[in-house]
């Protein structure tokens, strides 16, 4: 048996089975859960890396579940695009798991921690499954696994608001999933196939059929809801604000990205580029929506006082960037879009992890409470600064790379009006991040009694001690993962050719090249 040949199945099956084993191990000793989750996410990262490596050398991998030939059986198909996304998702999951031990100990009840890690692994399984599958119904199943575990994870914290946030997400998420299922049903009705590659071949003669057009509409709306494209983003800010820090970090960094990936798959693999451009003006619609998302997300972020909520609104804007690149349908912009999946995961991951560090140390979630933190938590705040500069798009950070590709792509497509939008949004994010950075480094420290009431108070952490100037940074277990992500924000900003070489191939493939 050549084990590497089975990595596409194992990368899903192992976290799925260990999600349950984690829970059972938690019955014996709760400390096992974190160790298992860490080992498994690391293992999956290695396997994903090996899969991507194989894909880069030998091209598309197709794994047949139960040896049933596609299009009848379920096929796991990995090409440049999802090989890349698999590595991103598993890496972020590994880093967040590494970070999670202390943070979970603080924000989640002790007896719920086995359930937390079990759900966390299920979320991870779902995200990996959505990415790896080449079967459209299997995609739906994994969307449901991701969503259901996501609802529970948002609600698992101690705050009552999180229940309401989770419930709102449940309603909207269910609508989204139902829309996607209806779309799948319609496509199956006219083609009799669920395999993505097979649908790609069978659909073109039916492009003007009303059933296919309806299916496409349902897909677009359903997926836009899942990835929180601007007018459909309402569930996102509350969900990210009230979820435990670890959950906000993993969801902000991976789950909307995988939603964006699923949209790319439907738009450019199941349907062909010609359909998106000529039959339905979907690229134009998404172009307008994503431009609005970029501006509106940034403006809404400026007016926030809660740091996690501000980051959530900034995510809405960043998702706009990812969608924007796909709508121009040229290779450069598409590369920018794909690479932004990685880049946004890195920088938003960094920022949310820092927010978690601050909550862990002080219980402060308010932006005004960050004043003078530069002395107290120098390393966390350095990571925050790197993440913030990335979001603004300063050269030598990853944010610059994606914006560069998007801007040159826009010029190639002759859409000059995109440039001012990117520029304005960068300025707006400079405003809302500078406000914080100025407070961190240049404002005198205030004691937390005088700052706004901290929104988060945990039971066994009842001393949000006054912010003193003495150094008191987060414990190394939280600091190291945060700094790794922040370091990668700079590393991939300089050594950008590494992810770009993969993203270019993926973009070329999506747009119908070889």
């Amino acid at each position: 048996m050549n084990i590497a040949e089975h990595f596409p199945a194992l990368v899903i099956v192992i976290p799925l089975l260990f999600a349950l084993i984690t829970w059972l191990a938690g019955l014996i000793n709760r400390a096992f859960c974190w160790v298992i989750a860490l080992t498994i996410t690391f293992l999956c990262f290695l396997m994903s890396f090996s899969i991507l490596n194989t894909v880069m050398h030998t091209g598309r991998i197709s794994y047949h579940m139960g040896a049933w030939e596609p299009p009848w059986g379920i096929e796991y198909a990995i090409d440049y695009l999802n090989g890349f996304v698999l590595v991103v998702v598993s890496f972020i999951a590994f880093i967040v798991t590494l970070y999670s031990r202390k943070s979970v100990g603080l924000e989640i009840d002790e007896e719920k921690s086995p359930a937390f890690y079990s759900l966390y692994m299920l979320l991870f399984t779902g995200l990996m499954g959505m990415t790896i599958t080449g079967d459209i119904f299997n995609l739906y199943v994994f969307i449901e696994i991701t969503s259901l575990s996501g609802y529970a994870l948002i609600a698992i914290g101690r705050r009552r608001n999180s229940l309401m946030a989770s419930f709102n997400y449940l309603i909207l998420g269910t609508i989204a999933a139902t829309f996607i299922l209806i779309g799948i049903g319609y496509l199956y009705m006219v083609t009799g196939s669920l395999n993505m590659a097979d649908l790609r071949e069978k659909l073109p003669p039916l492009y003007h059929s009303r059933v296919v057009l309806t299916a496409f509409g349902f897909f677009t709306v359903g997926l836009s809801l899942k990835l929180a494209l601007f007018p459909l983003h309402i569930w996102l800010p509350n969900a990210y604000t009230y979820a435990p820090s670890v959950v906000s970090a993993i969801m902000a960094a991976t789950s909307t990205k995988v939603g964006a990936y699923a949209m790319l798959r439907i738009l450019f693999t199941v349907f062909k580029v010609e359909f998106d451009l000529n039959v339905v003006p979907v690229t134009k619609i998404l172009l307008v929506l994503s431009c609005i998302a970029i501006i509106a997300g940034s403006i809404l972020a400026i007016s926030q006082t809660n740091i996690k909520r501000m980051l959530a609104y900034s995510s809405v804007g960043q998702i706009g960037y990812i969608v924007l690149g796909t709508t121009m349908a040229n290779q450069t912009a598409m590369t920018g879009s794909i690479i932004h999946i990685l880049n946004h995961a890195l920088m938003k991951g960094t920022l949310f992890l820092v927010a978690g560090c601050v909550v862990y140390k002080t219980g402060i979630e308010d932006i005004s409470g960050l004043k003078g933190m530069g002395q107290k938590m120098p390393f966390s705040m350095a990571a925050f600064t790197v993440g913030a500069l990335s979001m603004v798009g300063v050269p030598l950070t990853v944010g610059f790379i994606s914006k560069w590709y998007l801007a040159t792509g826009a010029l190639k497509a002759g859409m000059w009006f995109i440039l001012p939008i990117i520029l304005i949004s960068s300025l707006l994010s400079a405003i809302y991040f500078w406000r914080i950075i100025e407070g961190i480094y240049f404002a005198p420290a205030v004691s937390s009694q005088h700052s706004e009431v901290s929104t988060y108070r945990s039971l066994d952490h009842h001393n949000p001690h006054p912010v003193s100037r003495s150094r008191d940074d987060a414990p190394p277990g939280m600091l190291i993962p945060t700094l790794i992500l922040a370091g990668l924000c700079i590393f991939f900003g300089i050594a950008a050719y590494i992810p770009v070489s993969v993203a270019e191939k993926a973009a070329n493939m999506l747009l119908g090249g070889t």
Binding site: M1, H6, L16, L17, L24
Partner: protein, 140 residues
């Protein structure tokens, strides 16, 4: 309802047959309608009947929380585990034909039985858990 002798005797009489029928539905899943899911629901209904007659506390003595919680996971692990075992015998994930259980036909047949048993265990345990959770909720 446990004071009513008719209900008690009849349900005592019915429960073993319901459980036997659940196993029959499982075993005949490949020939007739049924399978692990349906069998699991039928099995759970026997426990639910017992709880309706004897009350939640008596019911929990028969179906301990620990046991149902563990069985929830065990079923899935039987399912996934069989898939993984297939890998060791040189097949793809869930390719039962490669299991060393006789020729292709028998191996496939027995493989899918194993899967169905896994489904039955999980479905029964989850149904029982959901019922206890809903029934045990205090109105507030």
């Amino acid at each position: 309802m446990k004071d009513d002798i008719i209900i008690r005797v009849i349900s005592n009489l019915l429960i073993p047959f319901i459980q036997l029928y659940a196993l029959y539905v499982l075993a005949h899943g490949d020939l007739g309608p049924g399978g692990g899911f349906q069998g699991g629901v039928i099995f759970a209904s026997s426990i639910i009947l017992y709880v309706l007659v004897y009350g939640i506390d008596e019911g929990r003595k028969r179906a301990h929380q620990k046991i149902t919680d563990v069985l929830n996971s065990v079923g899935v692990m039987i399912y996934g585990g069989i898939g993984v075992v297939c890998l060791f015998f040189g097949g793809y994930y869930l390719q039962y034909g490669k299991l060393p259980l006789g020729d292709l036909k028998h191996a496939s047949h027995l493989g899918i039985y194993g899967i169905e048993i896994g489904v039955e265990v999980t479905v029964a345990a989850v149904m029982i858990t959901i019922f206890f959770e809903m029934a045990g909720r205090k109105s507030d």
